[in-house]
């Protein structure tokens, strides 16, 4: 199983998939920063005065990481970003879902909203699962790089 997960072809496919997701999501958000800032505000996590700056820079972190996964440049740094960002997103989305569940008195499996992820209104349990998979993929890429350090074959 470990050999299969860390197989060069498997890692390549993961890199391409993650790059596609990051580039699409990043471009969507970078194009409309005001709308992204509004969605960030609805999380009630960041102070108001840093919302605009975050909305301008965060999509470009995704775009640059996407390009890193495509090109192979700064791959370990991009993998760390992928894992840490998606782990943070999981907590943020879960927190907002909890707020909505409390306000609307609904169950976790009934919650959908635009999470500001670049894909419009999404079904939240599926989104959390997707972010966990992306975080795990970041770890996988990081592990594969550590394993092949010194004799990079990708």
């Amino acid at each position: 199983m470990k050999r299969l997960l860390l197989h060069p072809l498997m890692v390549w496919v993961c890199r391409l998939g993650v790059a596609a997701v990051l580039l699409y999501a990043g471009i969507q958000k970078a194009w409309m920063p005001l709308e992204f800032a509004r969605l960030l505000k609805e999380y009630h996590i960041l102070p108001d005065h840093v919302l605009n700056l975050t909305a301008v820079v965060l999509p470009w972190v995704e775009i640059i990481c996407g390009l890193c996964f495509l090109s192979g440049l700064w791959l370990m740094g991009a993998a760390v970003f992928l894992t840490s960002m998606n782990t943070a997103f999981v907590f943020a989305i879960a927190y907002r879902a909890w707020l909505i569940m409390s306000a609307a008195n609904t169950g976790f499996f009934d919650v959908s909203f635009d999470c500001g992820c670049g894909f419009g209104v999404v079904y939240i349990p599926a989104k959390i699962l997707e972010n966990l998979v992306l975080a795990a993929t970041g770890l996988l890429i990081l592990l594969s790089r550590c394993k092949n350090r010194g004799h990079d074959q990708y």
Partner: protein, 170 residues
Amino acid sequence: MKIFKQIVFILIVSFVCGLGFNAFSPHGINILDNPWSNHADKKSDFHVKYDSSLEQEEPVVFVNLDRARQFVENHEGIVLDARTPEDYAEGHIPGAYLLSFYHINDYYPDLKDQLTESQVILVYCGNVNCEDSEFLANELFNSGHDKILVYKGGFQEWKSNKLPVKKGES
């Protein structure tokens, strides 16, 4: 150490690209601006209160369905829809003009003269949970309009009360 350097490089490049792109993008925003907080923090003459009376002493007032209905039926002023063009096309309050908060620079120049002439402006968005009507009211207040009604119930409340709805673009 190598990872740390890469993280720093990615952050620096992201900042440079983000700020550069934002500076030239038609949808660029002012990163130092803070349109999200109540402007009462910044301007002492900006006050928001909930009021259903006809008298308006405050520049921005939240109104309920009855007051919004009265405003529309009596043609007391201009009605603005702060939602997206797609939402507007699907249905809006009759007589309302589209002034999407997220495309404000596209729509505001055409409406500026009418808004300046109008005594009072009523703004609304999707429903009681959306904040776009308040953000738009803030922007209008900053642009010099000082009698603004914010209909908090929004289009959802209007429609659910079987009040007239118009479909299509303006």
